[in-house]
Structures are given as C-alpha cells and as structure tokens.
Amino acid sequence: MEYRVIISGFGGQGVLFAGKVLAQAAVYDGVNVSWLPSYDPEMRGGTCNCRIVVSDKEISSPAFSEADALIAMNVPSAERFSPDAASLIVTDAAGGEVCKDGAKVQVVDVVGCDTALINMAMLGAFIAKTGIVSRDSVHAAIRSVAKTGAQEDIDALGI
Amino acid sequence: MKVIYEKPKSISDKTFHYCPGCGHGIAHRLVGEVMDELGIEDKTVAVVPVGCAVMAYDYFECDVMEAAHGRAPAVATGVKRCLPDKVVFSYQGDGDLAAIGTAETIHAAARGEGITVIFINNTIYGMTGGQMAPTTLPGQVTQTSPFGRDPYTQGWPLKMCEMLSTMTGPAYIERCATDTPAHIRAAKKAVKKAFTYQIERGAYSFVELLCACPTNWGMTPGEARDRVGSEMIPYYPLGIFRDICDIKEGK
C-alpha cells in the first residue's frame, strides 16, 4: 500500500509543518515515508505545497504528479491540484466550490477558526477520514515537530 | 670577517627570473628581511599570484601556495581560518589584485581577515607582456592601450589604498614606493608593521608598493625608477591611509 498526499496553501499557513507532522506520525507508526517541499520562488509569500508518500514498501519517488489525496488550504491550491487527487480532497467551503468532482470533497468548516490552526483542523479531518496514521502517533508527532504551542495544535486536530 | 650585507635566510638561493630593474626583487627582499627579523619563516604560509611573481614559491623559503589568478585572498582566507596561529600573507600584482581578483580583495578586507596583503603596483601586466592594468595611468601606452589609456573608454585607474581605506575591516593600509633608498626603508617599515599587526592583533593589513617595470614600460632601469617618482607617486600618493591599532612597527 502506497498513499500519496499533497498539502497546499499559502506560505505562512503551516503547510510544510502539517506535512512534517504527517510524515513524523507515519514514522511513529513504523511505515516508510517521504516528505518533499516545493521550493519554487512562489514559496516566498505565495502558494506553497509539500508531497508526502506513506508506504509499507520502499518508496520509489518522493515526487509525483498523481496523488491519492489533497489537503487544500486555499482556493488557488484547490484549483491547481484538485484534478490530481484521485480519491479525496480536504478543503474549506470556498475551496470545495472550485473542485470539479464534488464527490471527493470533504469540506472542513473553518469559519471562526484561528487562521494559524486551519492546517491542523484540515489535517485532523484528513486523518479522521483516512486513518492513514494513528491518533497517538499524530499527537506525538506534533509534540516532536512543533517548537511551541503543541497543545493548541493537538486541540485543533479535533481527533 | 664581518658580514655587513647578506641575502635574507627566508629567501632561497634560486636565481630570480625577474628583469633588471624590476621592483619584485626589492619587494621579495623586504618580505624576506621582515620574516627573518620577526622569526616567522617556520610559521608562515605565503600565497603567491598569477603574474610575474607566479614562481615566487621558489624564492620564499616558507611554505607556499600558488593561487589561481586573483584568488590569493580567498586561498589565504582558507589557510588562515584553519591555522589562525600561523602567519599568512598574499603577494599580488595589480592585474591579479585589482582586476580579476577585485571581489576577493575587497571581501577579504571587509572581513578583516587576519592576513597581510603585499600589493605590487607597476601599472601594467608584466607576465603577459605589457597590457593595460587597472592601475595603468591615464595616457599610458601599453599593448592594449596603444594610443594611451583613455579613461573615458577604458576606465580610470583604481586607487586601491584609497578604496580599501573607506572600509571598517582593514586595520592598516599604507602605500610606499621602491624608487629611492629612503622610500625603500619606509617600505620595509610598512611591511614589518603589516606583519606585526597580523601577528599581534590578528588584523588585516595591506601594503601597496609602487614598483618599476622597465621591460614593459620600454625604459632603462634608471628611467623606470625615475618614472615611479615623477608619474606614479603624484597619482598614487604615498602614506598611511588607515591605521586603527597604532602599534609601533616591529619589536
């Protein structure tokens, strides 16, 4: 089983952080994982993404174009990557509107959510839906990856 | 028998390849005398340039590295950062230091790298046969300025001491000449002071020596020596441009 995820949003939303948490959680679960960030000029304040592969086998390439799932934290990300996501798109209401295939979309209600925690809210929804990593592992991963505010992040996961 | 004059022991017995009247012979000797007097030959690494002094590794008795054209300050930086207790100097001509190696020169100075730079300014590329240098004077005829250097199309001469003295990094900058016994004595003092600044303060020091190049200037050694005083010194005034430690030369 190999599962490929794209996480995308604006720089500053914690896109890379969410990816690192997912990757570290997979490590705690004892499976293989790779994490690859975008490093285009657009990372300087524009959109930003990272790609995670979780697998019980050796990972051939950390880079891929066709993903199993997408976590889109803004509309441009949903527009750009939703065609590449085979089975699941986790996004907010506005992001969901631009996705062509509504059946794949799982909308996370982020109204009133602290903007710094939208990444965790979406990651939590993604994990709840897929079970790709365990709840304990993701909590431990946040404590390991976050420099500060781990508990707020964990609370925001909602799992 | 009393010895009143001899070759410095920091200079090898190898016959110099320099032309009659060339300033490198004097400059080498001054550096050699200073190494002897400070007793540092065994702890010194010289970095020599591309240009007429390219074979200086055969003349200095200390350990030597031959650098690529203009890169001596970078090479010296690499050595000094590994061996902060050793004495490291670069010896460079005007094309090497002020044209192809300008960036390395300026940034080593900016870092206040603990090295000593001996800069030989003879207003011409010697080794390649007399082309225009960054220090070639306005109107000076060279192979590549056959009608005289036109500053409006070929640029104005770089005054390195003046440029570097605007910076915070260097501790000591002086320009000397090698045309008269008095000037040579002053140059010796400057070279010794430069090494002393490095040894005692770990500071960056820079000594420019105005030198003659009779062969490429198309002059006799005597005429060339006179030109240093009559044409170069008026354009490149002698003196101390920066001195922030105020250490007396030598000990």
Partner: protein, 349 residues
C-alpha cells in the same frame, strides 16, 4: 536511531561527523540548507563556516584549507558549480583532497530550480580545464547523502583526488528516514605534503599547479593518470537489482534510479524479465557492470542523454536505448515501463 531528515541536512551532518574543518558556501537553490546547517552546527563542532563573496571565492578558500591539510568542503547547485570549475581544476592539479557538493538543478544558463541530472558531463568528464578527474558519487536516498559524504572524504584523502557528491534537487530537499548513528567509519591519512607552516621541516612545502617545462608537466600528468587507472580498477561501485535472469536492464543513477526501480518491479509483475543497474559512483564509471549478455540496456536520466554515452562505451556492442526527461521534469515510472515493454515486444517479433 533513525530519524526524518532532509537530504541536504543529512549530508551536512555527515560532513561534520567526518571531521570537516571548514565549509565555504554561497546561497543558491536548491542546496542552501547545507550552508544554513553548517552555519548553525559547524562552529559548535570546532569548525569554520564562512559565507564567501562568490562561488569562485568559496572554492578557492577550499583550495587554501585543503592545501593546509584540513578536510574542507563547499556546496552549490549547477550554475554555481560552473563558477567553481576554475578552482576545481586547480585543486585537482594540486592533488588536493576535498568534497564538492552539486545539488543539481536544470540548465543551461540560469535554467530552472527543479531537480535535474544534466551536469553529468561536467562532473564526470572534467568541467574545468586540463586532464583531471573527480571521484563522483551519486546518492539515491537521504541515507546515501550521508553515507557517501563520509566515504567521499575518506576516499578523497586516500587518493588525493577531489570528490564530488552529484545529487539533485529532489534528493536534497526531501525528508526521509536516515540512521545517523550507523555512518561509515572515518579513515584518517597523514598529509605530510600540506603547506601549514614549516615547523621543524627542513624543506618548504609548495602547493602548486604550474609546470612551465612541458616534459615536467607531462610526467606529472602521466603519474596522475596511473593513479586514475588504479582508481578505475579499484573503486567501481554499483548496485544491481533483479539482474540475474534479466534480459532488459534499466540503468540509472540517483533519483532516476529509484523511479526506474519501481518501473522494473512493474515490468516484472507483467512477466518481463527486467533488472536494474544503479551506478553508485559515476567516476570511476562501473564499466564492469555492463559486461553481460542481455537483450538491451535502457539508460534513464534526467538529461538529454549523458551517462548513456558511458553505458554505450562499457556495453561494447550491446543494444543501448535511452529515455530521459529534462528541464526539471522527473522521469516517469509509467513512461519507463512503456519503454521496457516496447523493447521487450520488439524482441519477440
């Protein structure tokens, strides 16, 4: 213990483990994490980090530090490596050991910043002027970024040949598990040739590349060539996967080899006897790996075909096909599989 690390950071950490004394760097995407890691960690380990004014200065600082007998390193990405070629030629000409890292991006010119493998010729065939070689390593994982850095320092010191880690943007940027507690052993070699101040020595040491007498220079070059010949005999290093009964062998290095391996697996599951040869060192090129009886080799690269020339030379008269992507595009598993199938089907007609 295994932990998640970026390729660039694992490489830098392994260099510190190897006892690198100095790192001289300059920012360029996608290798800058190496410099940033060194800036943060090398001084604590007793080393020197210095951000140079240019790539040219950085490599010449390496020349100075290596000439003084210390383990020295610089890293860059393709355009910056072009700038370093002058210094690399001098370092090779002075027989100095050092490690140079190229986290390749696409060229020519400013090109792009995505991963590429189009600097193979530059790394393996020279790059700078003169007859010289580099020991060239081709890591395909974060673990190998670390392991090969240690080996590069060891072999460079032993052979007095500068080493290059020829990586790429993906391998440098990606995070995966790496075991930093199980790195290769460090080997130390005396450096009596170092110009580090004479001390008690009778004769001065000279680090030099200038030989004005052609007879003398030819003799020096020939002596170095003998060393290169010995390296070719001793250092060839490659990995094989499912080659025993393979009739079509895919060959690739670095990130391309990982993707090619997945294609080989896919081909096997369709009943095609495919295998993989992955050079772990690109110079000396593992010529011996290609002396076998196969239907065809398929060389896969993220370039317009560079390593394939060495594969053709090594494979004698065997059939060698090429598949590559360039411009920063990764090779594609399905496209590789399709080429394998094409070659397989042609053979059955």
């Amino acid at each position: 213990m295994k932990k998640l690390m970026k390729g660039n950071e694992a490489l830098a950490a392994a260099a510190i483990y190897s006892g690198v004394k100095c790192f001289f760097g300059y920012p360029i995407t996608p290798q800058t994490e190496i410099a940033a890691y060194m800036a943060k960690h090398l001084p604590k380990a007793g080393g020197v980090f210095l951000q140079a004014e240019s790539e040219i200065s950085a490599i010449n600082m390496v020349y100075g530090a290596a000439g003084a007998g210390f383990r020295a390193m610089t890293s860059s990405s393709s355009p910056g490596i072009s700038l370093k070629q002058e210094g690399i030629s001098y370092i090779a000409g002075a027989d100095l050991p050092c490690v140079i890292v190229n986290v390749m991006r696409a060229g020519p010119g400013l090109g792009g910043i995505q991963a590429s493998q189009s600097d193979y010729f530059q790394a393996v065939k020279g790059g700078g002027h003169g007859d010289y070689r580099l020991l060239v390593f081709a890591p395909a994982s974060v673990q190998e970024m670390a392991d090969m850095t240690v080996t590069a320092f060891n072999l460079s010191d032993k052979w007095r040949i500068p080493a290059m880690i020829l990586s790429d943007g993906v391998t440098g940027q990606m995070m995966e598990l790496v075991d930093m507690d199980d790195l290769p052993e460090i080997c130390r070699y005396d450096k009596p040739w170092a110009a580090n101040g004479k001390g008690g020595r009778k004769k001065h040491n000279i680090i030099n590349t200038l030989y004005l007498e052609p007879e003398e220079l030819e003799a020096v070059d020939m002596e170095r060539e003998k060393k290169y010949e010995r390296a070719k005999a001793e250092l060839q290093d490659w990995e094989e996967y499912m080659t025993d009964d393979a009739e079509i062998i895919v060959t690739a290095y670095g990130i391309s080899a990982r993707i090619a391996r997945a294609a080989v697996n896919a081909a096997r599951s369709e009943g095609i006897r495919a295998g993989l040869i992955r050079p772990k060192m690109l110079w000396p090129f593992p010529e011996d790996a290609y002396k076998r009886d196969v239907k065809a080799y398929l060389c896969v690269e993220m370039s317009r075909g560079q390593m394939v020339e060495d594969v053709r030379l090594a494979a004698g008269g065997a059939r060698v096909e090429f598949y590559g992507r360039c411009g920063g595009m990764l090779v594609d598993e399905t496209e590789i599989l399709n080429r394998i199938k094409e070659i397989h089907d042609e053979g059955n007609i």
